[in-house]
């Protein structure tokens, strides 16, 4: 029964709706809301990234860069130039989308894992530029970002952002599930399964890979912008290599080709450092160990492995 629930699209969504609506009853203070909101923000990015990495089998090591670029475009335009929040967000989307497109188009024509290398380079360059041009970005110390404004109404406070992020999470999961179970989605999965087979049935595989890369980059940019408004403060770390790795790890840990796995992965990787902070110096050691062991013994990621185990037991 649990396995069936995990399998059907509506089952998973229903569980998530339940969790999102009931969770506030368990959260005692704003700090907990903050953690949950951060999980939600990462989860949305990872749902998009999972389409690229888990379903289409491409590797990006630079999505932190897109997140950070969205954050700083929003930050700079709203804080320094007084742009309306929504417009600044769209500017970020445009910038990141174009960058993603221009980078991906020539690279994705090649077969092999060149996208990984290109995104590695791109992400690090973005974070170095943000860090160096401190006259406008505030440099390594970061910069403040005003709250999100919509038609004169300021969005401020954990409680409101909780519902906004919760709603956006459900929306993005719905969108992702729709894509997967469609001709476009099957074409994408076929690219991963056998790119040549996809080509001979008429799929323009380069077009699809580029499109998906841009979509996932835009997901990251939007969430970067929203996070900037929510947190009120951004640093170049958000665009850094470690954040990019963190995002891919969330995909792999939760389960590639599993949209709900993406949410689980985001939750675990956000909570783990919190849980481990008591260990202080040993935090890194334990973290690295958990990462290695989980993936060695559950290479498909948590959700697919557990789902398979439940299916096996149900037989």
């Amino acid at each position: 029964m649990v396995a069936k629930l995990a399998n059907s699209r509506y089952g998973g969504m229903a569980v998530l709706v339940l969790v999102i609506t009931l969770l506030p009853l368990l959260l005692p203070n704003p700090y907990y809301y903050d953690v949950v909101i951060h999980i939600g923000i990462s989860a949305i990015v990872v749902v998009g990234l999972n389409l690229l990495v888990g379903y289409a089998g491409q590797i990006s090591l630079g999505h932190g860069g897109f997140f950070g670029l969205g954050a700083y475009t929003t930050g700079i335009l709203t804080a320094h130039y007084g742009w309306p929040s929504l417009l600044a967000l769209l500017a970020g989307v445009l910038l990141v989308g174009s960058l993603a497109f221009l980078t991906a188009r020539p690279i994705l024509r090649l077969s092999g894992h060149y996208l990984a290398m290109a995104t590695l380079g791109l992400g690090i360059i973005i974070s170095i530029v943000i860090s160096t041009e401190d006259w406008i970005t505030g440099g390594p110390d970061g910069m403040s970002v005003p709250p999100f404004q919509l038609f004169g109404w300021q969005v401020y406070g954990e409680k409101i952002w909780y519902w906004i992020i919760g709603g956006l999470l459900l929306l993005s999961i719905w969108l992702a599930l729709n894509i997967i179970d469609s001709p476009a989605g099957r074409a994408l999965r076929a690219v991963h399964g056998s790119e040549i087979a996809a080509q001979v049935v008429g799929v323009d595989t380069v077009h699809y890979k580029v499109l998906l890369f841009v979509v996932s980059a835009v997901f990251a940019s939007i969430m970067g912008s929203l996070n900037a408004h929510y947190a009120g403060f951004i640093t170049p770390n958000q665009a850094g290599f470690f954040h990019s790795i963190e995002l891919v790890t969330m995909v792999v840990l939760g389960g590639m080709a599993s949209t709900f796995g993406a949410v689980i992965g985001a939750a675990i990787l956000t909570l783990l450092p919190q849980l481990l902070s008591g260990f202080e110096d040993w935090e890194m050691v334990i973290f690295g160990l958990i990462l290695m062991l989980t993936l060695i013994f559950m290479p498909k990621g948590l959700v697919p492995t557990i789902t398979a185990m439940l299916k096996g037991n149900a037989k």
Binding site: P106, I107, M117, A118, I128, F287
Partner: protein
């Protein structure tokens, strides 16, 4: 004018040799298994940090260096045996994350066992710099270049003249065929990791007197070594060396003539340029996929 240029060339070639050795490590492992080992940089860190602490404990420097290299090799072998081999059937992305997990784990251990400070090894033969055509070069730089050269020659002999070396190359070309010829491909991968660990450790030890070392020195070095390998053509040993040297010189030139703030961006701009214009790298194989 020329002296300044020469200065940049010297420092570029020095750090470039480190990139070359790290890149070589990437290339060897990639050749044997198509795995990109993101823990490569940690071999550099472990080699240099171990040497620092062993010699600080009173062990004479040459012995400390030997032990540090041996320790790193053990770490490399353990990494292959316990982290990579169990996961060999997983997707490439998963294996990459496992090596990243390993690098985090090793960095964490280094932080706990040693510390978070910067450390330097004493230069091997004195600190007084030489002056050549108006540019200064440290004696340690000459050590770096010399050791790198010796290693390159030794590896050349190893791969072309010894049975083990040729077995590694054969596995790189076609693992299935190699297996059928009786070559134990799992063992080959173990050797590849051990070799790469050795290269990383030596690279770390010879450069530590110049650049100092710390628990997280491996991250950037690893990434830049990776860029060197890609520049040279992932899978080409010669390419990794040439790539490393070019990278080092380009970095030094950019820092000197353009802006030292963007020095760290140079390798990554280079990797983008390579991928746009010459994806298989300088010496990489341009093959067609057989259907």
């Amino acid at each position: 004018m020329f002296a300044e240029f020469l200065q940049y060339v010297f420092s570029g070639v020095t750090i470039g040799s480190t990139y070359a050795l790290v890149g070589l490590g990437f290339a060897i492992i990639y050749n044997a298994s198509h795995v990109i080992n993101f823990a490569q940089g940690e071999f550099v860190m472990i080699g240099s940090m171990a040497a620092v602490f062993l010699s600080a404990a009173g062990i004479p420097m040459p012995l400390a260096i030997l032990c540090a290299v041996a320790l790193t090799i053990l770490v490399g072998l353990a990494l292959e045996k316990f982290a990579v081999e169990p996961a060999k059937n997983a997707e490439v992305v998963t294996i990459i994350i496992i090596t990243i997990g390993a690098s985090i784990f090793l960095r964490g251990l280094a932080q706990v066992i040693w510390d978070k400070e910067f450390h330097a090894l004493p230069p091997f033969s004195g600190e007084a710099p030489f002056i050549i055509a108006g540019a200064t070069i440290l004696p340690q730089s000459l050590w770096v270049l010399g050791v790198t050269l010796v290693i390159v020659v030794a590896l050349g002999w190893f791969f072309n003249r010894t049975l083990m070396g040729k077995a590694i190359l054969a596995t790189a070309c076609n693992a299935d065929a190699a297996r059928m010829m009786g070559i134990n491909t799992r063992f080959i991968l173990l050797i590849a990791f051990g070799l790469s660990a050795m290269l990383g450790a030596i690279a770390g030890i010879i450069i530590a007197p110049i650049t100092t070392t710390s628990y997280d020195v491996g991250v950037m070095l690893g990434l830049k070594g990776f860029v060197a390998a890609v520049l040279g053509g992932l899978g080409s040993a010669v390419g990794a060396i040439v790539g490393g040297l070019i990278l080092g010189i380009a970095e030094a030139m950019a820092a000197g003539y353009i802006s030292s703030n963007y020095k760290d961006a140079v390798p990554f701009v280079i990797i983008l340029l390579i991928l746009f214009f010459l994806p298989s790298g300088l010496f990489g194989a341009r093959g067609t996929e057989r259907v």
